[in-house]
Symmetry: C2
Subunit: 294 residues, 2 copies
Amino acid sequence: MSFAERLRARTAPLESFLDEVMAPKLAASGALPLGSAMAYALKGGKRLRGFLVLEGAALHGAAQEQALWPAAAVEAMHAYSLVHDDLPCMDDDDLRRGQPTVHVKWDEATAVLVGDALQSLAFELASHEAAHPDPAVRIALVAGLARAAGAEGMVLGQAQDIAAESATSPLTLAEITALQANKTGALIVWSAEAGARLAGADPAPMAAYARALGLAFQIADDILDVAGDAAKAGKRVGKDAARGKATFVSLLGLEAARARAAELVDEAIAALDGYGAAADGLREAARFVIAREM
Amino acid sequence: MSFAERLRARTAPLESFLDEVMAPKLAASGALPLGSAMAYALKGGKRLRGFLVLEGAALHGAAQEQALWPAAAVEAMHAYSLVHDDLPCMDDDDLRRGQPTVHVKWDEATAVLVGDALQSLAFELASHEAAHPDPAVRIALVAGLARAAGAEGMVLGQAQDIAAESATSPLTLAEITALQANKTGALIVWSAEAGARLAGADPAPMAAYARALGLAFQIADDILDVAGDAAKAGKRVGKDAARGKATFVSLLGLEAARARAAELVDEAIAALDGYGAAADGLREAARFVIAREM
């Protein structure tokens, strides 16, 4: 089984679960675009974050019917961030996951509201009693999600990214690494830890795995931006270079960036040493993030 | 003591508490506008929602040092909604609480990010362990806040409000009542219930109080829009009438709208009958919402 197949098989229940949790929102929305635009924004992702939750849960022996809640939560959070990042006042992207972005298909007001409601949905799902019988476990997930998403996590990273575009001097390697740890790393770490938290296990090895994985993923994304094509990426490429933004590729060069990504994948895999063969899916995931375009 | 004085006295600790919880966000933000723009957006509100949390907590014997967390949470949530509602693609307002709106003072991208981070902050605060030693109490607050804020609550109400502007026929009284129950009512009910929840008391009387209060508040807002002045309101007035939007005033007429608001205030006060004199602060709050501009 290829990793793409493994990813699809693991996250197939998540697709129908997302449909289920969206049903009352669609009903409440009636003829308004809000509900259907939320559902649209939730569709078509690779589900890497959801996969990390579900695979991490399986690894630690947590039940899938519990893990679907944080898996759906992190996919809702990620989808909100993409809808807002694509806005004209932000990255101004018209293509996402191979489809028109929400503000292109509907309008900007709908895109703002869709993002806002998807963030609320993420917390609704993470706090749901079906996620775990012990409220202490759920509140730890929620508190961690709030920190990972907010002004010391994902939103800070996006603010740093936007500021970098108008900065007089390009970011250093240390700065871009910190930026990415905020912008994408925090949510990936939360995802990888969630299954261990559901099972009452130590989440530290999963966090170490996810920190390396998240950075490798971002370096691979930068490589894709210069060396990939739009059809494979499902979004515009070459934008960062055209804007003169510092990326891992502009700072390291293409070959050194590839080498650094490969090194990080090795680090991610090494963090799983204590788990044995049961963690092979997560090891494959680490290899997959750099195999996408190399 | 006038109600304005009582409101200020009750919420004075909330002002310094908000400064405290913003300190790490400001530090993380460094030279970026994100942190200071969040702090700016949090300043200057009437704190009606925070007052309801703190007064409801005092009424039920919950400690103020616990109640400050949900009080700050709901003020962060409310502030986020104002920042996003004021965006050019939404209500396009340049004045809020007597000051330039965030997208005017900074830019649209900052306003989107400030709103996003304030929503995350709301959940971070509501889930904080200092809010209550029992995680079951905190998770109930968080789950309720997520429902009140999202696609079946506040965001739905805002989507309904935006759709009403381009609708071919104006909203009916039933539709505008439902819209306001979502847009402002849900968060006001959550605020009023929070103190009872912290104390382990039945939140139903507070919910009944808040539903009537929230609707009275919105009718009073519509009256202020036609009969008030910008200096008192701290925002532009006459906008709804200029746009031909249905409001409680356009549907009922000014006098009947005033009568309905007064009736709702009586209902709100009646819901507090079981509490005796200890609920006088909440009774005054109900009278205050319609006294603002009549």
